[in-house]
Every structure is written in C-alpha cells, then in structure tokens.
C-alpha cells in the first residue's frame, strides 16, 4: 500500500474532506468559469504566452531584473537550495525579532516559518487561513484557501485553544477575531515577509496580490520587507504581469481581481526591500523539456479546485506544501529523493486539471511521464507488480494467448465476480460486473421524473459605455459609485490614475498608493475621471507610471472560512468611487483608442 493511499484512506475515514470540499468546489468551479468568460477574449492564451516567455528566458530576465532592482534600490538575492533560502532570509532579517508573515508558497516549500521560529524569532502568520492552520499544526490544505478542510465549528474550537472567547462560530466573527490579533501585531513588528506573484524584469516592480490587507500592512508598516519567491516568477514587463492578473483571481477565487494588486517599486524612505529568488531544483526543471512547462504555473489552484481526487481525499493527504494535480507534478520534481514518488499516481487521469489550467500546463500528461520515471527508478511498484506487468505483456504479445486470457477472465467473472473485493477488505462495496447482464425493458421507464434542469445562465448583457460597465461591476463588489460624495471625517480622499470597467477597479499610483493611510481610513473615496476608464486590467499598462502602483478592486475581504465572503478585514469596508457624469466628459481615451 502506498504511503499516499494510507494517508488518503485515513483522511477519508476520519475527516471526510469531500463532504466539506466537494460542494464548495463545485460552486467555485462554476463561478470561475463565468468570471473567466466575462474577461478579455483570449486572456488565457496571453497569460500562457507571458509565462512561457519567462520560462524560456529565465537567466536573461534575471540579469535585466538585477539592474532594474539596482535602480529601484531593491535587494536582489538568489538561493540555490531551501537551506540557503532560509539562511538568506535570516541574514536579511538581521536583528529583527518580531516578523509578520503573509502567505507564500515558497515559504512553505523551504520551511521558513518553522526555521525562523527555531532560531528564536517571533513569527506570526497574518493571513487568516494561514493563522488558523498554524494553530491546528497540520499545514495548509489548499494553496489559496489554506483552511479549506476546516468547517466553522472546528475553527472556533481551534481558536479557543489560543484563548479566544467566541460566543458563536459565525465566519464574520471568527474572521474579525483573527484580523484583530493580526492588526495588533502589526503595531509592533520589525519585518514583513511576503511572497510575490510576479517580478517585472524591465521595471523592477514586484507584483503581489491579496484580499485581506495583511500584505498591504506587511509592505508598509515594518521597516523591512522581504519577499521570497520562486526563480521562475520573473516576467518580462508590466504587460506580462497584467496578462497574468487577468486570469489569476478569476481562476483562483472567481474574483475579477483580488482586492489589492500591488506593484511595489523601491522602498519608502527609511525602509528596506529585498527579494529572495529560490531555485531549489527549478533550474533543473527548466532544463528538462518534459517538465519545463510546469514552471509556467501561477499558483491559482484551479487544477485542485476541479480535481476529483483532491476533493475526495483533501489537500493534507498529499503531505506536501503543493497539493492537488500541480502538487502531484511539482513535488516529486522539487524533491527528487523519491519521497513523493507515489503522488503522480494520485489521479484517475480524468484530465480536468489540464482543462482547468489557465496557462495551459498539460498536467495529466506530466503525471503519466512521472509515473513512468518512478517505475524506471524503482521508486514505486514492487517485485510482484513488475512480474504481473511482464506476464501481462507476454499474454498480449500474441492474439491466441490474449483470447485465452479473455476467456479465462469471463469464466472467472461468472464464478467469482461477486466475491472479489479490489482492496482486499470488506468495506469496498464494488463487485466485478456481470459478463452477461440481463436486460429488463421495464428499466427503460425512468424511476422518477427528470429533475428540474439547472437554470441556464444567460450571457450577461454588457453595457455599451465603459462608465456604465464600471458602475455595474463595481456595485457587484459592494463599491458605492456616485457622482458626488460629501466629505466625512476620517475619509481618505484619493484620485485614481485610471479605472478598469470590466472589473470595477481603480488604479492608484505614486503617493496615492500609500498603504498606511489607506488602511487607516474610516472610508476611502476615490475620484475617477471616466475619460481614464479602460476595459480590461491589461489595458492599464500606459497608466502604471514608473513608481509604486496599487489596483483596488472592492474593499478588503476574506473567504478563508468555508469560502464565505467577509468584507472589511484590514482597512475600511467602505469604498466609494466618485465617477463624474459621462455627458460632461469628452470620451477621448478608451481601450479602443
């Protein structure tokens, strides 16, 4: 029995992850498809091309990035191994004692939190989901929703362990409780650690996306910001980064964009910023034509959202920081010592992962190649299985022998089919099928009327004007769109450089993107000139400027508890966009112009 099977069977028996995960994922997958359908036609191809270009030009892009970081005063660091990555981060942290960490998959990969704590540092996981699974101590079960395997009542029990006195398990209450713990920690900490979703070679800007506002705090409150990410996350330019943005949130969480999409330039005065690029086997993957494409991954999690095996057995049974189909491919590649050799077998090869991947990674085909490699290297399959396949190949090496095998199978099925249990225990309900089943014409009469067919989703009618589209999409995110907004005490009044109609987003650049006052405000009011509206996020490129930039898409939120949306985590729940009447404005600039 493979180690994966043992873990998966135990998870199914003891935790029943499918009961929680399957209904959530069925809904999420349908919502994701709708969100992608209303984005730019061909967005997936653009994102795939941006990632493919990066993977094909890793070293030249890094050379360019090093120079751009020099201009931006961002520290460039490269770590060959997990150990080196941890050592580099420790060195950069210097005498920092209290560290606020937001979600980073590479951080999980190199065991960063554990290593820093072992070295005596105080590390707080500031993402709500990560905070919860940190308390539980079993690790994240999903790359974008770490606490997906836990329902609200289990989360309440876990938080009670840390001393939380919570009268009920309402996700709003639970989320805000963790928010407050995290918020207090940020008042007094020395360093923020984040991941990065893309790093732009041409400009040296770091793109990080998030929903809760903990990354916003992490990059602006402490005097030191360290981002840790994979070597492959470099991209050529802003156009490439924006192309990734167009598919990332729709695929991951069925959002048009996450609440905050940061384009971080150089550090603020008195602050330091460093990026640690972790190789840890990636150069070897890039050099292998069979698996190179896996480096295109943007860590959206769409492959696991759709995966039936992931849903049934849960993310923890993979026992890797990377779970689901991407985990089954990348874990044995990143840790080639054989410990994850059985993960590529954790698939029925239904191909749903490949279909779901927005950047076109042929995941299920890679699983097949990895299986063959594991068999060749004797990492899986014992002597009995090897002998069985050899015998099988001899049987099917000649038609007469093969027919004899078929006949024997038929006789065997007749006599023994009902007794056979594939897993050798009594709890497998399956019996082998009847080779000559009876046919009863009565069965052609249905047992019940057809269930009401699911409502067909009509293609959304898209308003002609960008301003109208913006109003509709922003309102769907809980953003108030008005023509005039009387000032209130505690308002943070900002002017957007541009807006994105299809996502209801506002782009803030330079001083306007300052995160501390943004998150401290009681209400955020953004003035947006309809002349600066574009259709899709990718069209923002001419407006991004050279410095700091932030795309706001609705107020901060979380969906880390049972995927239920809670708005207003770090930062105000109230976001108002003042969009002046269109009539008065000449429409000079649009995406078509």
């Amino acid at each position: 029995m493979s180690a994966y099977r043992e873990r998966a069977a135990r998870e199914i028996r003891e935790q029943r992850p499918g009961a929680t995960v399957t209904p959530i994922m069925r809904g999420l997958v349908a919502d994701s498809a709708r969100m992608l359908a209303r984005g730019r036609p061909g967005a997936a191809e653009r994102a795939a091309a941006a990632r493919a270009h990066a993977v094909a030009n890793l070293e030249s892009l890094h050379a360019q990035l090093r120079e751009s970081f020099g201009r931006q005063r961002v520290g460039y660091h490269r770590a060959a191994t997990a150990e080196e990555a941890v050592a580099t981060v420790r060195r950069l942290l210097g005498d920092a004692r209290r560290v606020a960490k937001s979600k980073t998959m590479v951080g999980e990969e190199v065991g960063l939190t554990h290593a820093l704590r072992a070295a005596g540092l105080d590390v707080l996981e500031t993402d709500i989901g990560e905070y919860i699974v940190d308390v539980e101590g079993r690790g994240p079960s999903h790359i974008t929703a770490p606490a997906l395997h836990l329902d609200r009542s289990r989360i309440r029990t876990l938080l009670a362990r840390t001393g939380a006195d919570l009268p009920d398990d309402d996700p709003v209450r639970l989320s805000r409780y963790v928010r407050d713990v995290v918020g207090a920690y940020f008042q007094d900490c020395d360093a923020g650690i984040t991941g990065a979703n893309a790093v732009v070679a041409s400009s040296g800007r770091v793109m990080v996306v998030e929903n809760e506002g903990n990354v916003s705090l992490g990059v602006s409150h402490p005097r030191l910001h360290v981002a840790i990410t994979g070597l492959e996350k470099v991209v050529a330019d802003e156009a490439a980064a924006l192309a990734i943005l167009e598919v990332l949130a729709p695929s991951a969480t069925a959002q048009p964009l996450t609440s905050f999409s940061h384009f971080l330039a150089g550090p603020m005065p008195g602050q330091e910023r460093h990026v640690v690029f972790v190789d840890n086997g990636r150069s070897a993957i890039a050099a292998d034509a069979r698996y190179r494409d896996v480096l295109k991954c943007i860590r959206c999690g769409a492959c696991m959202n759709g995966c039936p095996v992931y849903r049934a057995a849960g993310g923890l049974s993979y026992q890797s920081p990377y779970m689901g189909p991407i985990g089954a491919v990348i874990s044995p590649l990143l840790w080639p010592d054989g410990r994850f050799a059985d993960l590529p077998f954790a698939s029925s090869l239904c191909g749903r992962c490949t279909e779901a991947c927005p950047v076109g990674i042929p995941l299920h085909r890679m699983l097949l190649d990895l299986r063959a490699g594991a068999v060749e290297r004797h990492e899986v399959a014992g002597r009995a299985e090897r002998l069985a396949w050899r015998t099988w190949a001899i049987a099917f090496g000649g038609a007469t022998r093969a027919r004899a095998v078929s006949a024997a199978a038929r006789i065997g099925l007749r006599s023994g089919g009902r007794l056979f249990r594939p897993n050798g225990t009594g709890d497998d309900p399956r019996t082998l099928p009847d080779p000559a089943p009876t046919r009863d014409p009565a069965n052609l009469r249905p047992a019940a009327a057809a269930p009401p067919s699911q409502p067909v989703v009509q293609p959304e009618s898209v308003p002609d004007s960008l301003a109208e589209l913006f109003r509709v999409r922003a309102a769907a995110l809980g953003v108030e769109v008005v023509e005039k907004c009387p000032a209130r005490k505690g308002d943070r009044l900002l002017t957007a450089a541009a807006g994105v109609a299809s996502t209801g987003s506002a782009l803030l650049t330079g001083e306007q993107a300052a995160r501390r006052p943004l998150l401290a405000a009681k209400r955020v009011v953004v003035e947006l000139d309809p002349a600066n509206l574009v259709r899709y996020p990718g069209d923002l490129e001419p407006y991004l400027g050279e410095g700091d930039a932030l795309i706001l898409t609705g107020a901060s939120r979380t969906a880390d508890i049972e995927k239920q949306i809670v708005r207003g985590i770090h930062g105000s729940e109230e976001l108002v966009v003042v969009l002046r009447g269109e009539e008065a404005m000449p429409r000079l600039l649009s995406s078509e112009a």
């Binding site: 099917f396 038609a399 093969a402 027919r403 399956r430 052609l444 249905p446």
Partner: protein, 239 residues
C-alpha cells in the same frame, strides 16, 4: 471500398463479449463490411501504471493487426485516446512515424457513426429514458460529446437525460481503481448519486470501462442500474 475493422478491446471482450456483435450490426447497417480485430490491447493499463515497455509490446500487436485497414473503429473512447494520443510516442524514429500513421486511422465508434455518410439510413427507434455518462476520455481527450449527443438525438422515442455533474470522473481510471480504492469508491458513489438524481435506470456511455466500474458499484450496493454502450443502444434501437 475502404477496408474497415472493428477493434473489440481486450477488456470489453473479456467482460462483455456480446458488445462487439452490437457494433458490427450497426456498421453493417451503415453499409460497411467490417472485419474483427480481437485478442489485442492498446497497452493503456500498463501505460497508465508507468510500465511503458510493456505497454509498447502490447500496443505493437494491435498496430500490426490494424495495419491492413483504412479505418479502425473501436467502441471504447479510452482505447482510441490511448492509440491516437500516446501509443506512437512509445516508439522511436521511423517506427514512431509508422505507428502514428496507423494510429491516425482509429476512430471512436459513436463519433464514426455520427459522421458516417449513410447515418441517415439507420432507422432508430427506442421508447424509453436513459442517462448519459460523458466519459472523461471522450469529453476531454477526444472531444466527442457533441457527436454522442447528436447520435442519441437520432433515436426516435428516446429521452436522454444529462447528469448534473456530467464532467466529473466516475473514479475508474484503470489501475487507479485498484491502487487507490478508497478514493475510487468515493468518486463512484458520488457518480451513482448523480445517476440516481437523474431518475434514469439505464446509463449509456461511449466508454464501457466507466460503465463497468459504475455497474460494479451499483451491483455491490444493490442499486438497479443497467449500463449500455452506445453500440448496444443503437443495436437495440435499430428497426
């Protein structure tokens, strides 16, 4: 006239040996003169388990048998997918090219019939209700869902119900069903629930491997469910 063969896949021959007769009957009704290729395997069981030399040895025998024909029809989407997408790459150089040429002659049965110039000639009538299991290989690797639906739409009197979660795997996956039985059973159970919700008691599919798995669960759990291949359905509907 093009030389045509019906490939009766190894597992279908073993588990439901009458199915080839149904397929042959339909092909003859279309005016084809099919010969039979049996006692061969496309190599998929070994291939999916990571045993490629063994898969190649078995697949070579199938390609040899298929060599004299212009068209090879198989009533199993999964085998067609193996032959067309994966088998040629197990050979090297000119052998791979040759394998690719022969593999290109393979067609999935329902898709072949749906596009046959004489399909109008088939008089098809069957009163009743069936549900469709859209197999993963048919749906994603071969893209024949539309062909299957169009073909079933030609059967007078037949109501075809689609499953609410028709794009979800039944949990078979070849050796997956044996290597990871707990997960496989979880998926099969979910599929049976979906079938039950459709109200139909006959499940049809272009892939018998899925049907065999779903039926094995239904039989073991005492659920009334008949599983028919598209070939069997057409044969029973042929007037």
């Amino acid at each position: 006239m093009a030389r045509i063969a019906l490939f009766d896949p190894c597992y279908l021959g073993a588990i439901r040996s009458r199915d080839a007769e149904h397929a042959l009957r339909i092909l003859r009704a279309l005016g084809d003169e099919p010969e039979l290729i049996d006692g061969r395997c496309c190599g998929q069981p070994a291939f999916n388990s990571g045993f490629r030399p063994e898969a190649r040895d078995a697949g070579r025998q199938l390609l040899k048998a298929a060599q004299p024909y212009d068209v090879v029809v198989a009533a199993s989407g999964s085998c067609v997918s193996m032959v067309t997408h994966y088998l040629p790459a197990l050979f090297e150089g000119r052998r791979a090219e040759g394998a690719g040429r022969i593999a290109g002659r393979f067609h999935e049965f329902a898709s072949y019939v749906a596009h046959h110039p004489n399909v109008e000639r088939l008089g098809l009538r069957l009163e009743g209700t069936v549900a469709l299991h859209d197999s993963c290989h048919g749906r994603r690797e071969l893209g024949i869902t539309g062909d299957v639906l169009a073909l079933l739409g030609r059967v007078q009197g037949l109501e075809v119900r689609r499953l609410a979660f028709e794009d979800e795997c039944c949990g078979f996956g070849g050796s997956f069903a044996v290597k990871l039985p707990e997960i496989s059973v979880a998926l099969m159970t979910a599929k049976l629930a979906d079938v039950a919700a459709s109200g139909a008691r006959v499940l049809v599919s272009a892939d018998f491997s899925c049907l065999a798995h779903i039926e094995s669960g239904a039989r073991g759990m005492g659920v009334t469910l008949e599983t028919w291949t598209i070939a069997e359905l057409l044969s029973r509907a042929l007037e």
